[in-house]
Symmetry: C2
Subunit: 269 residues, 2 copies
């Protein structure tokens, strides 16, 4: 007789899969955990896979063979994605978010762990096919989105520092010009933070002219990294010509009107 009932086993397996997205668990692992036959575990996993598919809660894949097992990948269905981005767009369009100088206050949204997690899952789903090895961002506001992307992809996160800090050993620094305000700034990345010739995706919160993104690409070139893609939560309609050729943005900011107190911001189609 099985020690644990099916309804108990599926709860525990679900918990393990969700805690470690994009991580392979062997059937043996669960068979030993429950002192159960592999055939029973295999049926448990089929149930989880089918019901996740039915409710669009993520993808559960089984891999056959000796190196086989089960992997969970977060999945944000098209309808859920649309509704979610619409919800963020509405929150960000609140006129009380207009700051002096025509800036938009986004910090509370970016640092909301649940929203950040969902954004991270959307980025993960978009970039996973490119098989990145690292997620890269620049401090500060890119961090929550990049951390959640890294979590969903089961990858390490690498932080480019704004300025140059002493606590990370030898580092490569780059002076760059911010695309919009034309300020000269410095960014740096510790040598030990990223092996050379890594495959990376860049995640950030905001892109205007793309000067920061361009700087990151150039800094990463010093590490011989291959930049597979760039994901940002919000980009601006203007300037139309960005300093980086390709990127994936979720929301487009068309206008912040300080006088009329109006924000135009919408999900990308």
């Amino acid at each position: 007789m099985e020690k644990w009932r099916r309804s108990e086993r599926v709860v525990i397996i679900t918990k393990y899969l969700l805690e470690k997205p994009n991580t392979l668990f062997s059937l043996n692992f669960f068979a030993e955990l429950f002192q159960s036959a592999k055939s029973s575990i295999s049926e448990d996993i089929s149930i989880i896979r089918d019901v996740f598919r039915e409710f669009t809660l993520g993808k559960v894949e089984t891999l056959a063979g000796a190196g086989g097992g089960v992997i969970y990948s977060p999945l944000v269905g098209p309808r859920e994605k649309d509704e979610f981005l619409q919800e963020i767009a509405e929150k960000l369009s609140d006129p009380s978010r207009i700051l002096p100088g025509g800036y938009l206050y986004m910090t509370d949204i970016i640092f909301d762990a649940r929203l950040a997690q969902k954004v991270g899952e959307i980025f993960a789903q978009h970039f996973i096919e490119l098989e990145p090895e690292f997620v890269v961002t620049i401090e500060t506001k890119g961090i929550p989105l990049a951390l959640m992307t890294a979590k969903a992809l089961n990858l390490p996160l690498v932080i480019i520092r704004d300025g140059s800090r002493v606590t990370e050993g030898s580092a490569v620094s780059l002076n760059y010009v911010t695309g919009s305000s034309r300020n000269i700034r410095t960014m740096s990345l510790a040598r030990r933070a990223l092996p050379t010739e890594s495959r990376v995706v860049i995640i950030d919160d905001f892109m205007k002219a793309g000067g920061t993104a361009k700087g990151m690409v150039e800094l990463l070139a010093e590490f011989k990294a291959e930049v597979l893609g760039i994901g940002v939560l919000v980009d601006t309609e203007l300037p139309e010509q960005k300093l980086v050729p390709n990127y994936y943005s979720l929301l487009k900011l068309s206008k912040v009107d300080e006088i009329e107190r109006k924000i135009m911001l919408h999900p990308h189609c």
Copy 2:
């Protein structure tokens, strides 16, 4: 007949609970989702509760009555916590982490999403009884741990900025002296980031003399906030007398010996 089998329902309910820790779900919510009787849902939840307890995977509580429902709180059992902290301590004790000046390279550990999540769950479990309303940290390295603590507690995260930035509107700034290197620095917090008289916990990665923590407490006093507690991943044995009276630390750094290439770092008992 029920549309969904028990083994299917418990998978979905588990997913909902884990995605939103410390959030109340009514039984009606699940009854409607599955077009199922509330009595069936109630039994489903009992199964989840019991098996979570059995495997020390978290606390599932049911609240009776009209406002009732079910809540999941992450729980890191004493043995799991010990093993986890021992694992981090060993990683951090690798002599290759010694940086010039006797600093310790911790960034990759702090920015590992899974380790950060576990640390966040340990902090959440420690501070939840104090009923905080906000988690507060200072950029940059405190962010992942604080974000994961906020997620586990289902609370907003507030970031104190290092320096003063233009993109967040009116802010309160404070000059403070770092406890160890005696540098004068500025930290600032946007007025809109935190309502006055909030109940907060402070989370950070590292504490040496406690100058930064003291600065945060003073800055938060300008917001009439009540600081219920301070949690740090690593504190140093010296100086013994910290600038803040009370805090909760997970790991103690006793020594970084640059010449002997030796690090002494252990979990707090």
